[in-house]
């Protein structure tokens, strides 16, 4: 089947004034309004915005796969000069997969669980090019090798569930590349993956883009990734494109207040919780049927001017840069270089005495052979190995690591949901490692509390918010009467900055950020001394993250709480943590103050982790270190140093020591320790991964 003929100097994809609505029984919900963008050959266009802003809808509209309720109500989508909006089903089918391909957010869900990888890959050329089965499988094998998967012969015959998340995503990418499409749509391709795996995938996508000259539409909420991958960028807010232009230009010379606010709310390396705190965007994202008149961002904008901004629809205006446009009536008047006014700076909180101490904590799980029907040999998963540290009053200790590193197990043991295999946990000199939570005293339970990752699942959906907080107060034995507890609950609502009338609402009536505030209020109900925050903001949108982080910091300052902040996001850790503990496969590989951990000498894993984090700042120069392979399974860890299979410094250690022995803990400076065999000379010669070019 021949591909569409087209003049390469013309845009590959040209979307003009596109409007998409979803139709429900009640009303028409406009999802995207007046959206225009152009993607030239070989260009990578980033679509950035918070969840619900319509960026995925645009992608699906290009694929013409909006479902039964979605309709394109105005505008055109031209692909190589052909209008997709008027195309018939059969014509579309020939374009899909052959000239436009898509890569999805969740690789596991996007692959057919009952078909082998090879069969799913080979299908593409068999449909579009009428290739024979043998040729198609040979091509599949070659493309699998192209996406840098080891052992392609085994992988083409494997089922998706036999591969790791990163490998699955490479298969989805391979599937998209099977017929060398002209346009690749990537819908949050790395959101479900770990940072080091993400770095590998991003590298691959960039290389393949260059190799095949594919244009890309890259959808992401992560500005750092967009800077890394794209040439051009389109910022979306509430169904509209608000700013579009060259990536560097939008990052450095933004001309829309929303873009500016977005950049001020993400933790860049220059931000600091005391001297330069993040600025959260006030208010909430408007619901699609409650959008304000005029500028959608108006109610949350610092530059809002009644009468002008809310007068009527705002058109895109050219700012005079490189195809740089902004949807703001005032972009020409605003002084974009003005420093941030009235930054609230705070004193660094002094840390107090040790409240929590762990000594040689180990947690092993015994699992059976891993089959549904039992049987097989017992295996031991070493989830935590010789964990030792202490945390002081009023301190924020961040625990960093990728999935499977044992950070959640550690939290479970501390909370008493599991008991330790060996070692000690001292809470105010009282050892609690062997006491499960049912047997702990009420005040122990109320003093160690947790804020969970996913606020959507951790609130009881059939109980009002206020009732849930009161329930926590009852359990912790706070207050003597219902009246007293109700008042205390209202105080807690004030503490987490939720309006008091929210107490009578159901969790489903709250947004994600508001739910997380309820989770925080519940955790602090019994006057918690230690709060374990397990990825408290990773499920939230960027602009909400800043507000929730801020809230946590503020409560901590007020109550002098010890915060154990579990996260995989190094940017936010750098911003708020006092000390950082880096974990890999159950081992603490590095522990020190934030400055010590974020500057050399590093543990090789910390180095790779730092390099993998995308940073949304054009001035940052990063050393690129991409880790090969996946994290080994905790069920079958490598002998010797846990990191030796992926370490780039391994050959600097003589006698293959890394293969044989677990490295001892090495103390570098006061309070800074790493678990590595590298000699002091090599460690001191390490270069910083991140440098910020002079302004």
């Amino acid at each position: 089947m021949s591909k569409t003929e087209w003049d390469p100097s013309q845009p590959i994809l040209e979307i003009t004034n596109l409007s998409i609505s979803f139709f429900t029984r009640l009303r028409e919900i406009p999802a995207v309004m007046d959206f225009s963008c152009t993607v030239m050959a070989g260009e990578a266009m980033g679509l950035v915005g918070e969840s619900g802003c319509g960026k995925s809808t645009v992608a699906l509209a290009v694929m013409r796969d909006l479902g039964k309720n979605g309709k394109i109500v105005a505008g055109t989508i031209k692909f190589k000069g052909r209008d997709l909006t008027t195309m018939g089903e059969e014509e579309l089918r020939q374009l899909r997969g052959s000239e436009i391909a898509m890569i999805y957010q969740e690789p596991m869900a996007s692959l057919n669980p009952a078909m082998t990888v090879g069969a799913q890959l080979a299908e593409v050329p068999m449909i579009h090019e009428g290739m024979s089965k043998t040729d198609a499988w040979a091509l599949a094998r070659q493309i699998v090798a192209d996406v840098r998967l080891p052992d392609p012969d085994r992988i083409v015959n494997a089922y998706p569930h036999q591969l790791s998340g990163g490998q699955q995503q490479r298969i989805v990418i391979a599937m998209a590349l099977m017929s060398k499409p002209a346009l690749l749509i990537l819908d949050e391709p790395t959101t479900a993956l770990d940072v080091t795996v993400e770095a590998g995938i991003v590298d691959l996508v960039k290389d393949l883009g260059k190799k095949y000259g594919t244009s890309m539409l890259f959808i992401s909420h992560n500005l750092g990734l967009v800077l890394d991958v794209c040439n051009r960028l389109c910022v979306m807010y509430s169904g509209e494109a608000v700013e579009t232009g060259n990536v560097a230009e939008v990052f450095d010379k933004m001309r829309h207040p929303y873009t500016q606010a977005l950049f001020r709310s993400i933790p860049l390396p220059t931000a600091d919780k005391n001297s330069r705190p993040l600025v959260a965007i006030p208010g909430n994202f408007p619901l699609p049927h409650e959008r304000p008149k005029g500028c959608n961002f108006g109610p949350r904008c610092d530059y809002f001017e009644a009468g002008r901004c809310d007068a009527g629809p705002v058109p895109m205006g050219d700012t005079g840069g490189d195809r740089h446009a902004s949807r703001c009536v005032k972009f020409a008047e605003i002084d974009w270089n003005a420093p941030l006014a009235a930054v609230k700076t705070t004193e660094r909180t002094p840390v107090g005495e040790v409240v929590l101490k762990m000594e040689d904590l180990r947690k092993y799980y015994e699992v059976s052979g891993g089959s549904l029907f039992g049987g097989g040999a017992q295996k031991v998963v070493k989830a935590n190995e010789t964990l030792s540290f202490e945390a002081r009053e009023g301190e924020t200790l961040a625990i960093v690591g990728e999935s499977g590193c044992g950070k959640s197990t550690f939290a479970k043991v501390l909370m008493g949901l599991e008991t330790a295999t060996s070692g000690k946990i001292f809470l105010y000199n009282q050892d609690i490692q062997d006491t499960p939570i049912e047997k702990r005293a009420v005040d122990t339970v109320s003093s160690v509390q947790m804020v969970f990752q996913n606020p959507f699942d951790t609130l009881n959906p059939s109980m009002t918010v206020g009732r849930q907080i009161i329930r926590a107060l009852e359990i912790f034995g706070e207050g003597n009467s219902d009246e007293e507890r109700r008042n205390r609950m209202l105080e807690l609502m004030d503490l987490v900055k939720l309006p008091r009338e929210f107490a009578d609402r159901m969790p489903r009536q709250l947004s994600g950020g508001q739910k997380q505030r309820v989770g925080i209020a519940r955790a602090f109900a019994g006057g918690a001394k230690i709060v374990v925050a397990d990825e408290p903001v990773s499920a939230l949108d960027v602009s909400v993250q800043a507000a929730v982080t801020d809230l946590l910091m503020e409560i901590q300052r007020k109550n002098r709480t010890t915060l154990l902040f579990i996260s995989h996001d190094l940017s936010i850790v750098r911003y708020l943590a006092d000390r950082v503990m880096v974990m890999y496969l159950g081992h603490v590989v590095e522990l020190g103050t934030t400055d010590q951990v974020f500057s050399p000498p590093y543990h090789p894993y910390t180095e790779a982790l730092l390099s993998a984090v995308p940073i949304a700042d054009t001035r940052v120069i990063k050393k690129r270190i991409v880790l090969e392979g996946d994290i080994p399974s905790a069920m079958n860890p490598p002998p010797g140093c846990p990191f030796q299979t992926r370490c780039r410094w391994k050959d600097q250690v003589p006698n293959g020591l890394c293969d044989r022995e677990v490295p001892p803990v090495k103390h570098l400076a006061t309070g800074h320790q790493i678990k590595c065999h590298l000699s002091d000379d090599i460690l001191t010669e390490m270069e910083p991964v991140i440098t910020i070019a002079a302004e």
């Binding site: 694929m63 089918r93 374009l95 669980p113 009952a114 078909m115 599937m175 089959s371 029907f373």
Partner: protein, 360 residues
């Protein structure tokens, strides 16, 4: 795999033992035994005579001992009355001298039916053969039509096809066999009512009715004419249920992300359904189909009685109606085995359909 099978068989045996013991206990309650004594001996026996009859025929032993003897795990009882030896294993054809010590189910001795005056094994063998044919045809009709119905309804949720097919499925599964069977007889197998007279007038059918209202002749030779109605009656009921299950599973699969992936790869709708959705959609109904076997036994009881087809269900009804303890016990053993074996097949088949589950 071998390990798994051995363990499963062990559990199955244990379950079978427990279940048969329960049935044994229930059928061997004292009133049943007294009734048995009166029907076997004489209706006019006095209570003392009943007691001695039970004593002489081994029914006075403890329940657990009798269960062991029935099972063949304990030696059968023997007794000398007036110099003549009687016992569990001693019959007219088997004199006391040659009689084996054990004679229970394990030895293949299923006892003697008091209703039919013949060995239970012989009756049951014939009945199971007959029911086997019925089940086979029911499955041949029911499974493909139910799956087709379910898949067609589920592939476009909410469409007109979906609503029509779903209505049909709900209607058939909401109609019990004793209702649908009677209706079908009236409509299709009556020489005076329904459509048979019309078809006969037009000369479309040779006989007087489209189907025969009784399936007794099917015991000797199965034809469309005599076997159609019982098969349709049982199949209709199960079909609706399986079709609903298939539809639910199909609609779920059709909204899965990998179906979107396939669609956006340019796979045509037909191929999306056949290559990508079907196998995933059949995983859930497979267990349901396997569970239908025991359910079919249920339906078979009604249908065989209704159509006078002397299969397993008819025999069970006869056994229960006439206090035929040995026959009832054997029927229950068969039922238990059928349930357990279909469960096993269902588990193994599930693992083959779903590559995420592997038996080690």
């Amino acid at each position: 795999m071998a390990m798994f099978l051995i363990r499963r068989f062990g559990i199955m045996l244990l379950t079978a033992l427990c279940l048969t013991f329960i049935v044994f206990f229930l059928t061997n309650l004292t009133p049943n035994l007294e009734k048995l004594a009166r029907s076997e001996g004489s209706v006019r026996m006095s209570d003392a005579q009943v007691a001695s009859w039970l004593e002489n025929n081994g029914y006075a032993q403890p329940l657990i001992v009798r269960y062991g003897q029935w099972l063949g795990a304990m030696p059968g009882w023997t007794k000398e009355i007036d110099g003549e030896t009687t016992g569990r294993c001693i019959t007219a054809a088997m004199p006391a001298a040659d009689a084996p010590r054990f004679c229970g189910v394990l030895q293949g001795n299923w006892g003697q039916s008091t209703v039919f005056k013949r060995p239970v094994s012989e009756i049951l063998g014939r009945a199971l053969g007959a029911t086997g044919w019925l089940m086979l045809w029911v499955m041949i009709i029911m499974v493909p039509s139910a799956l087709t119905l379910g898949v067609l309804a589920g592939m476009r949720e909410g469409s007109r096809t979906d609503r029509v097919l779903s209505t049909v499925a709900i209607a058939t599964t909401a109609t019990p066999e004793y209702v649908s069977g009677v209706i079908l007889i009236v409509v299709l197998a009556s020489a005076t009512a329904g459509i048979s007279p019309i078809l006969a007038d037009w000369g479309w059918i040779e006989g007087r009715t489209l189907f025969q209202g009784t399936a007794t002749s099917a015991m000797d030779e199965i034809t469309f004419w005599n076997f159609g109605l019982p098969v349709i009656t049982v199949a209709l009921y199960g079909m609706g249920y399986i079709a609903r299950m298939t539809r639910a599973s199909m609609t779920e699969v059709m909204t899965a992300q990998y179906i979107r992936t396939a669609r956006l790869k340019g796979v045509s709708f037909r191929q999306v359904v056949i290559r990508h959705a079907l196998r995933n959609a059949l995983i859930a109904p497979f267990t349901v189909i396997m569970l239908q076997f025991p359910w079919l036994l249920n339906g078979v009881v009604i249908v065989e009685t209704l159509f006078n087809y002397k299969g397993f269900g008819w025999t069970l009804v006869q056994g229960a109606g006439n206090n035929d303890i040995e026959l009832l016990l054997s029927c229950s053993v068969v039922a238990v085995v059928v349930v357990l074996v279909t469960q096993l097949i269902s588990d193994i088949g599930y693992a083959f359909l779903n590559p995420r589950i592997r038996i080690s």
